[in-house]
Symmetry: C2
Subunit: 373 residues, 2 copies
DNA sequence: ATGAAAGCGCTAACAC
DNA sequence: GTGTTAGCGCTTTCAT
């Protein structure tokens, strides 16, 4: 009675069936050219018949390469990361590499990760997503003995892929300036761990564009709110609307907040865009649904680029170990930005709470009609 | 001159440093109790000093276990999958397992995956997300020699984790019935590959609840639209509104569509919920933002449950190989459902296009005022 | 172009 | 409790 055949077939099994040595099977499986055509055919057939798959573990052991690219991410429940990984996957697969994910949602797991560096022997490269790493943590990753690519952060001296946030924010602000706005607010996003780089840069771009246009940046016009917090968002809107000189346009650092702003404004019967323009950043899926004008970035492109950069680093020892890939953004004009209505600039503004009786009607017919107050 | 120390430290290195044998180090690293406390301490210190990490490849080779759980998913850019994986990750980590992701976005990759079954020797278990597998594909996975857990699909005879869609849809429909609605439409989602199971089940629950309540299901009230397609959604709304007896409530199979419906209706100046109640399913992030009444499911719970089920299957050979974990849903009443206005049932309804001059004002003050037509 | 042999880093069986 | 020994399945010299 033959032993229960519960294990996978091995090189030796294929070799025996094809009447060759294990070495030859190995060479065949790796596509080396030093195998005669007829032998190759025999081996391939035998392998197919046995459903033979090379064991990564065994070959890793000798080659030192794991065939795995690891990703470090704070969550997978994110539009940005989800899109980027979805396009990264196929890039890696095409190169015969598998995608391993370390989800590190909280501080405890983070500390543990950097303590133990579980990726150390279990991946050929690491992609770090949207973390604000301390210099100490980056240094820790440096002695990981593998290429580490940073995504959405400017890791000086280390390979990075990110979008040109400054230019994007500048372009967005210029769009609003071009429409005639002069009082342009900027809403920062707080508490979204891991995106402080973008946050800084976008604010910077906003300021640059204002200065270029000869508009003095006003810190009263810069407020912050956490994403998804209606109350805080409403507060921020209230603060802006109750300024002596309220803005006529709001540039939100993130689409999620921008959409929330639109809701809040419309609920308070402040028409968008007739009374207030709103501009987002990201081109999040919901931006399209909400007809939000926004500065688009493509996380899919970022994921792809990061994957290709990692492959370069992996395959070419001469590759530039500090290359920064900076991807462009582009303005997508939609329905939430428009020229400001001519309004008496020095009249006191209403607060957010009192419901304005103005209709939430399309802007066209009403723009220019000064029914303010 | 010492050789360039470019390789990772091995068991032997630690053993030498701690003055013990490799076996002892191995036992220590695996937490076996047969190591005396002082030796254990010495070994652990040596390991720490050398930044030693056990090579998965090498240990896999002998144990036959890879320490990896693989996930098969059509995309990662999905609220459901993202949330589920984000909670699955930590569950696996706690068990010392890594998470490997196969993103299989299109038919070509899918065919290739089932052809080659790359997971075969590279994972201990496989979680299959939201795919509508053919019986042939499932059969292929069966001879994978590892536990395969199906998520969001009812794989008969195989371990599965999903939400009770029938009960959820029934509860939702009852909620609307309880508010007094009798003409309740159901909007199906088409083209969202991988969720046809839920789709069927939700429609079923809707029908059941109607029948239970003595309301005859009317096929005219069941329409379909792809998610994120504004035009088609508007068409669906138009179809429903132009029925001789239009609905007073719409139950959408997915929140994304429900939110889109609310937008479309409000744009057409059909007040929600005063003139039309809208109910969603999922409790997608945007449901809260949109104040959408919905049937909540928790993808995070599903991910966790699936992970734990996989661990059971992995660790307990006696475990039930066909266990189905069915998770509950719950109604979250928010602002898009309300009692129907008393309305002359047999009057002809307006079409979707003509802008109704009715204000998009809060329902309270206006409900009950019959300004219809 | 092919085969034989050595060994990658670890665990498991067996001694002691 | 701890050390010794023999592989796990593959790749890689080195022969031929």
């Amino acid at each position: 009675m033959p032993p229960a055949q519960r294990h996978h077939p091995t090189l030796a099994d294929v070799a025996q069936r094809a009447g060759v040595s294990a070495s030859t099977v190995s060479r065949t499986m790796r596509g080396l050219t030093t195998v005669s055509p007829d032998v190759r055919a025999r081996v391939e057939q035998a392998a197919r018949e046995l459903h033979f798959v090379v064991s990564r573990q065994a070959s890793s052991l000798v080659t030192g390469r794991t065939g795995v690219v690891a990703v470090l991410a704070p969550t997978l429940n994110s539009w940005f990361i989800g899109s980027a990984l979805s396009s990264l996957g196929p890039v890696l697969r095409a190169a015969g590499l598998d995608l391993l994910v370390y989800v590190v949602p909280d501080l405890a797991e983070r500390t543990d990760f950097f303590d133990r560096l579980p990726a150390r022997r279990n991946a050929d490269a690491l992609l770090v997503f949207s973390f604000d790493l301390s210099e100490e943590e980056s240094a820790r990753l440096d002695d990981l003995q593998m290429p580490v690519v940073y995504i959405s952060q400017h890791a000086k001296g280390r390979p990075s892929v990110y979008v040109d946030d400054v230019a994007g924010a500048r372009a967005g602000t210029r769009h609003l300036l071009g429409l005639g706005h002069r009082r342009i607010a900027f809403v920062q996003t707080t508490g979204a761990s891991g995106f402080t780089f973008s946050s800084h840069e976008r604010l910077l771009g906003y300021r640059q564009a204002l200065i270029e246009a000869g508009v003095a940046p006003d810190d009263d016009l810069v407020v912050a709110t956490p994403p998804g917090d209606k109350r805080r968002t409403a507060e921020a809107v209230g603060t802006l609307l109750s300024l002596r000189e309220p803005p006529t346009a709001i540039f939100a650092e993130q689409d999620e907040v921008a959409v929330s702003l639109v809701w809040t404004l419309r609920k308070a019967h402040v028409d968008v865009p007739a009374r207030m323009s709103v501009l987002g950043f990201d081109d999040h899926q919901m931006a399209e649904w909400s007809d939000l004008t926004t500065i688009a970035q493509s996380p899919a492109d970022i994921g792809r680029a990061a994957g290709e950069l990692a492959l370069d680093l992996l395959n070419d020892p001469e590759a530039d170990r500090a290359r920064h890939l900076v991807l462009p953004t582009r303005l997508i004009p939609r329905a939430t930005t428009a020229p400001p209505r001519p309004v008496a600039q020095d009249r006191p503004a209403e607060a957010a709470e009192p419901a304005d009786p103005a209709l939430d009607a399309p802007a066209r017919g009403r723009a220019g009609v000064d029914t303010y107050e």
